[in-house]
Symmetry: C2
Subunit: 317 residues, 2 copies
């Protein structure tokens, strides 16, 4: 358990739900993401000394801050809550974007502190602490952002309650084009738009597609992946929160996307594509649709990120 | 396209739904199953000349008989409906048992005729014809019995409408104990007991378990398989049609089963187990529960059948 004086980590954005995997599937992309820096200090306890990129929206009080809550939960678990630690949070992705912003902060916070104190827990063991951090922000308890942000790759969650997850190796040539239009949707609002119950027929259809997507991923069957990326539950209801959603979808599909849907609770949208060239082309077409209505947007093109959160400087290995 | 004078085939029983895979998952076992014999005849058209094991319940008219309908559908597709063919059907499994009895007849009928006429279609291409046969018996259009009966192994159905399926390699040591208690449940009744809509929360849980089961199967993770075998949709409602269901479940689980649920629409029940010895022990325990209330029952212990329908005699290769 070697200790460093300072650790800086990067936690990537994630796409949750992945069309047919409502609350059970997510993947990480290479960028954007949040950065957290931690270092030992003389003063006892965890203190957040600086937050940038948040327009003053995030609390500095550790017990009210997503990254702080996650880190405190870990420190308490280890009986180290009095250890003097300073934390800086650099938000480099928008709030309420559907890109797992609060998950990224929570994961970065707990991962950085775990590294700083000599890595007593494994990445997978950090999952419940990161979950606690994210839950403090949005009130929900689901691992479809935190899981892939922490571990990378495509993460399937059998049970959010039991935190029973499986990591799936992404097909080599699977790329994502993710576009964030500059509007904000609160996860809470996006959740409230969903019905309490759904038709059994639709549930069966969704289950078929989710299973198909997993089979397609594992068997590297891009046709099966493409045929499976359909959401009959959340997308039909949430699309109305996203301007030009169906035009963006049509643009993506006619440019050759394997599938297109809402990232998390939106407003970001994503397309899965076979290969980088296809993803770049598809991404540009989606972005164009938002441009046409003067809606500011950011495009991210990335392979599935296989590693999740990682140290970017300050590690003495 | 070599032709034989007579072909005899065996189509195995199947376990559909597999707890969390309502209408989307099924697997085949080695026995019981139906046999169909076909041979060329002078008289034009398909004629069913003999049916055994059905207590006189099955019609001899080909266009009203499951095996006949499937075979006729194939012959029409090939423009060969006037070809003289005689068919014998030997029912060797009970009706309304939840073991895919009508699927087995349909598959056996179409597979035997396809063999007899020189195998113009592949097994997978026979799927829609077998589906038509089965649908003539129970009115539903789902491939979770027909698929594994035809192809063997564990078959996942992304879409019943599109007949989009994936075959999963069964884990080497995965065995099933299937027990059929001697009561009859009509698929129609078992379907009517299901609600039209379900809670979104339950749908998500079921999706998580289905995905978990597929991951467990593909990654040979018996723990994940075991944690995934839960049905929150059909089992809680259908169990009341099966005497002693929960006692049988408890007996199976405490004897070491990975999971236990209803086979298809019931009344048969199944347990998945790791290894033959475990399956034999679990099967005996389940059987005992039915014995105790003087309910006649048959126990079948089998690895997952990898081959599905096959010729058992009369082939000249």
């Amino acid at each position: 358990m070697s200790q460093q004086q300072e650790v800086r980590v990067f936690a990537p954005a994630t796409v949750a739900n992945v069309a047919c995997g409502y609350d059970v599937l997510g993947f990480a992309i290479d960028a954007p993401g949040d950065e957290v820096v931690v270092r030992f200090s003389e003063k006892p306890g965890l203190r957040i000394t600086k937050v940038t990129g948040d327009d003053g929206r995030l609390p500095l009080a550790a017990e009210k801050n997503t990254a702080g809550v996650a880190a405190l939960d870990l420190l308490k678990h280890l009986g180290m809550q009095d250890r003097g630690i300073e934390m800086e949070i650099h938000k480099k992705m928008p709030f309420g974007s559907g890109l797992g912003s609060s998950a990224a902060s929570a994961v970065a916070g707990v991962y950085a502190v775990n590294k700083l104190i000599g890595e007593p827990l494994t990445k997978k063991q950090l999952l419940p602490f990161a979950m606690t951090g994210e839950a403090s922000a949005d009130g929900a308890w689901h691992a479809d952002n935190v899981g892939p942000c922490l571990l990378g790759g495509i993460v399937f969650i059998r049970s959010n309650q039991e935190l029973d997850i499986a990591q799936l190796e992404p097909p080599k040539n699977l790329w994502a084009a993710v576009v964030h239009p500059d509007i904000e949707i609160l996860t809470k609002v996006a959740r409230e738009i969903l019905p309490e119950s759904i038709l059994l027929e639709n549930a069966t259809q969704q289950t078929g597609n989710l299973g198909g997507l997993i089979c397609g991923i594992i068997q590297e069957d891009y046709g099966m992946i493409s045929r499976s990326i359909h959401d009959v539950i959340a997308e039909p209801r949430r699309q109305k929160l996203i301007p030009e959603f169906y035009n963006a979808k049509r643009a993506a599909m006619s440019a050759g996307a394997l599938g297109f849907s809402i990232s998390g609770a939106g407003p970001s949208v994503f397309a899965l594509c076979e290969g980088e060239e296809s993803a770049r082309k598809v991404g540009a077409k989606i972005s164009e649709v938002f441009d046409k209505i003067q809606l500011n947007n950011q495009l991210y093109v990335s392979p599935i990120n296989k590693h999740g959160v990682h140290v970017i400087e300050g590690e003495n290995k």
